[in-house]
Amino acid sequence: MTLFQEFLALVAIICSLSACTNTTIERTSDATAVPAIATSTYSESSLASSSTVYFSYDNYNINSTGSEKIKSLASIVKENGLNVRVEGHCDERGTREYNLALGEKRANAIAELLIINGVSSSNITTVSYGEEKPESRGSNEKSWSKNRRALIKTS
């Protein structure tokens, strides 16, 4: 188990515990189903550094600027024995679940290029956030182009 996986596991345990302990039941006077609130907080690890690769619309091909970035990043990762977390993101256009899939295709494309450049797959984790975590708010191409991205976080 890598340190990062251990961290995730620990976070998962803390989350599940807090979700249980924070569960409270709110009764309403006039409803058959009485909903209850549960809460969860997940804190992201303080990852050392991150770099960003941008994509064109509805696409997961890495352009030349992106692949140059990944190449130099791969050598740093190898030299220092770092772990990599790749996050795939999309702009808000289209459906949320399709974008979640598209974000994963982007994250996987980055992961594959890291592996081609010698990074061990066991040091890479990928996650897609789809359109859920935009970098820039606003419904225009300026914002959208910033949001179609993969974040490569190393620690």
Binding site: T23, I25, E97
Partner: protein, 435 residues
């Protein structure tokens, strides 16, 4: 003596009261259909305590929700019958009323309970078309009102009323980038409650067929995972997690399975999850993206989005034969389809000239109708009577996420403004209050 005193007070209260402000704002766009004209005489109140709600106000608000009905105000009535023999049909014909509703709220032998006796009358035929006695707690008067609205709607329109249903949605306040809140609300905007809060994304809520649980996706562990939460207790359980995406849950009509999306095979595919054995079984295995499954009402097939042809399109898979058929051919973006309760029509997100709309598609004739003209429309969800659709869109003026709706004939459009400026991912409940 006492009773007539209360009756006078009651009538005075009715005539002077103003309607409660609704969170559901309706804007009727086009359509030449005349609404059905209904009159509901304020029910005779035979209890010794003052009413907490006026049934005729609840019913008026409900029936007028989607502009299908116009309900006469009590001050415009010529008479106030509460029994059939007191009706002067001439009065109601003069007011051009199609259907008349009369009734009484009566004392029950059980402490804290009331009985409501009422009738629906067809004015032109001078005929009683529905007579009922419903019982309930004095405290649940509002719910009983919605129940009466559902029955009236059903008797007159021939399809179930949806005024006792609820909508689940995800609230993401503008003021806080890291706050996600899964909530449910009655369709009139009342009873808005939080189910689950997180600082990580929540998406794709889906109601169990019995309306008692909601499945959804939460990123609380840093990756996507599907959870099921029981409404009555708030208890949550997680589905067995697999590597990669765990998302897009859709309950089978019998409640025994979920269809969902996993990408453990290196690309997103549709899987079945057996809720008894907690085991995943793959349904599709294409190298492209397969996502957004929805179960047909008969439980025999699923529709889903796939980009196997190069662009996202809607496909249908027969679960027993595993045969896959492409259903959409118009345009280069068709996604997130949902069946209507008849199983013969589907709705989905359709891009036309770069704009995302909600489209209605008849699977037999292939006819496509665009239902919406808002901006960045997504996440359509169908009311359990198949007559209304709710979806998420963007309010361009304020640049906020809002929920909007449209009737299936495209004639009535409405919006549900959110307090926080960030409502998304609506999911309409099944019929909850059976009658």
């Amino acid at each position: 003596m006492m009773q007539s005193f209360y009756k006078i007070i009651y009538l005075l209260l009715i005539l002077s009261s103003t309607y409660l402000s609704s969170q559901l704002r309706i804007e009727i766009t086009g359509g030449s259909d005349e609404p059905i004209r209904v009159a509901m005489v304020p029910f005779e109140w035979k209890l010794n305590s003052a009413p907490s709600h006026y049934l005729h106000e609840i019913v008026k608000k409900d029936l007028e929700s989607f502009a299908e009905f116009a309900v006469l105000n009590p001050e415009d009535m010529l008479s106030y019958p509460s029994l059939e023999e007191e009706i002067s049909y001439r009065d109601w014909r003069l007011l051009k009323v199609d259907y008349l509703i009369i009734g009484s709220v009566l004392k029950s032998e059980i402490e804290g309970e009331v009985n409501i006796a009422y009738s629906i009358l067809d004015v032109s035929r001078r005929k009683n078309i529905h007579k009922a006695l419903i019982k309930g707690s004095v405290k649940s008067l509002k719910r009983m009102g919605h129940n009466i609205s559902d029955r009236i709607y059903h008797k007159i329109n021939g399809i179930p009323g949806i005024f006792s249903t609820r909508i689940a949605y995800v609230d993401k306040p503008l003021s806080d980038a890291d706050s996600y809140d899964l909530r449910i609300t009655d369709i009139d905007g009342d009873g808005d409650l939080s189910l689950f809060k997180s600082n990580q994304p929540i998406l794709s809520p889906d109601w169990s067929p019995n309306g008692k649980e909601i499945a959804y996706v939460s990123f609380e562990e840093g990756t996507s995972r599907i959870y099921i939460q029981e409404l009555a207790t708030g208890n949550r359980r997680a589905l067995k997690r697999e590597r990669g995406i765990n998302s897009s849950p859709s309950w089978s009509p019998n409640g025994n399975y979920l269809s969902a999306v996993l990408s453990k095979g290196d690309n997103p595919d549709i899987y079945l999850y057996n809720l008894r054995s907690n085991a995943w079984t793959p349904l599709t295995g294409h190298y492209g993206i397969d996502t957004e499954p929805d179960w047909s009402p008969d439980g025999k097939s699923l529709i889903f989005t796939s980009n196997r042809s190069g662009s996202p399109q809607i496909y249908e898979i027969n679960i027993s034969s595993m045969r896959i058929k492409r259903k959409t051919f118009e345009g280069t973006y068709n996604a997130r389809a949902r069946y209507l309760p008849d199983g013969k029509n589907i709705i989905y997100v359709h891009r036309r000239k770069g704009v995302f709309h909600i489209a209605l598609h008849n699977l037999r004739t292939g006819k496509i109708s665009i239902l919406t003209d808002t901006f960045l429309d997504e996440s359509p969800s169908v009311a359990p009577n198949g007559n209304v659709i709710i979806y998420a869109t963007k309010d361009r003026e304020t640049d906020t996420d809002i929920l909007a709706g449209v009737t299936i004939n495209g004639k009535t459009r409405f919006i549900l403004p959110s307090v926080s400026g960030g409502a998304r991912e609506p999911a309409w409940s099944p019929i909850l209050d059976k009658y």
